[in-house]
């Protein structure tokens, strides 16, 4: 049944065979549900991979002229990236970085209590993370949940704060009432539970802060004043 059911789903059966399976599926709610779920899975796979095929690429980038001096693999790699990808790869200051697997991506992005939410096409802090970014002082961390590291103004004048939460660390800047995520990094395994990790100890977060910051980070007094005045 399994093979035939899926062959039907994929349009691989003859009309007569298909009619037979269709009748069976129509009569069986469990099979109907299975069909729906697998149609959705197929659509999701297509949706995930299709943008790759939409990226502009040229044959020349993948086929260095045979008579040219062989460029280093790294050079070739950069040259063949689609332009947007090259741009963003260099623009580390606005990179949002996710680790694969069952780590930050899933735990940080799921459900109504998720500390991160999409907002008008951007990721912004929500729930406990938003709360911490608005209210918490680096010197007075909560017993659990997100912890604040550095606070500073970026080159556009927005207040930005680094945080660690659930093994991830990141940078968010306050714009129009939302703490927009400018970067999110998953701590290497083994450090995941270390909420006391100093802000910026992840080298990628440090790099991101360096590229964004204007002047010096706030000291404790300035941080408190800024918070008490609503981050104006």
């Amino acid at each position: 049944m399994d093979d035939k059911f899926f062959a039907w789903l994929d349009g691989e059966l003859t009309a007569a065979e298909a009619a037979e399976i269709e009748a069976r599926v129509a009569a069986d709610p469990a099979l109907r549900k299975l069909a729906e779920e697998h149609r959705a899975l197929g659509a999701r796979l297509k949706a995930a991979f299709d943008p790759v095929a939409a990226e502009p690429v040229s044959l020349a980038a993948y086929a260095p002229a045979a008579d040219s001096n062989v460029a280093s693999l790294a050079q070739v790699r950069v040259a063949r990236r689609p332009v947007t990808q090259q741009f963003w790869a260099q623009a580390a200051s606005i990179a949002v970085v996710f680790a694969m697997g069952a780590g930050a991506g899933n735990s940080l992005l799921g459900g109504p209590a998720s500390p991160i939410a999409p907002e008008a096409g951007r990721l912004v802090a929500a729930a406990s993370l938003e709360d911490a970014l608005y209210r918490q002082l680096a010197s007075q961390p909560a017993d659990s949940g997100p912890r604040i590291g550095l606070t500073f103004r970026d080159k556009q004048g927005h207040v930005c704060r680094t945080f660690t939460d659930q093994g991830a660390s990141g940078l968010a800047c306050l714009q129009g009432g939302d703490w927009r995520l400018e970067g999110l990094f998953q701590a290497p395994e083994g450090q995941a539970a270390d909420y006391r990790m100093a802000a910026g100890s992840d080298p990628r977060l440090g790099t991101l802060v360096d590229s964004a910051i204007a002047g010096e980070p706030f000291d404790a007094e300035k941080e408190r004043q800024a918070r008490n005045s609503g981050w104006k």
């Binding site: 991979f49 993948y62 070739v76 694969m100 799921g110």
Partner: protein, 165 residues
């Protein structure tokens, strides 16, 4: 000469699809681009072996799949997994409109990573690339029954990994 130009043009047209297949096979952006490059180089060098009138896409997919098997064998699984993990750490994406799609690509590639090689290539050819069972069976040199049962196992595993997300 004209024939060579026509070949190159057709190859260029197929390049985006080949890159997509490379992503599904290798589950890594860097590996996918290396694999695409190897495939293009091999195809250009072997132009004469392609018989006009046969399907160019099947021929190219077959080259890519065989090169990937060679790569995996040469590297060994452990090293590749390390490379993939590093790559995931360093993935930089446009955070504005493409972010949802980019995140989902990472998630889907991570799920694909958990499949056995022989299921993954079939999932990639049929569910991602849209080939029929027969075409996939011919490309892989497998009986069609083997293709369909591996596809059932692969998609069932993916459903368990990605189901609720």
């Amino acid at each position: 000469m004209d024939q060579q130009r026509a070949f190159d043009r057709d190859l260029a047209v197929l390049l985006p699809r080949l890159r997509r297949f490379a992503h599904a096979l290798s589950r890594s952006r860097a590996d996918a681009d290396d694999l695409t490059q190897m495939t293009v180089e091999r195809a250009l060098r072997s132009r004469e072996q392609w018989q006009p009138g046969t399907k160019l896409d099947s021929w190219l997919y077959r080259i890519m799949r065989n090169l990937w098997i060679d790569t995996v064998r040469a590297r060994g699984r452990i090293e590749r997994r390390t490379a993939a993990a590093e790559e995931a750490d360093g993935v930089a994406h446009d955070p504005v409109p493409g972010i949802e799609a980019a995140i989902d690509l990472q998630r889907v590639m991570a799920a694909m990573d958990r499949l056995p090689d022989e299921q993954r290539e079939i999932v990639a050819l049929i569910l991602v690339e849209g080939f029929g069972y027969r075409e996939a069976a011919e490309m892989l040199g497998l009986p069609i029954g083997t293709v369909s049962s591996r596809l059932v196992r692969g998609r069932t595993a993916l459903m368990a990994l990605l189901g609720e997300a």
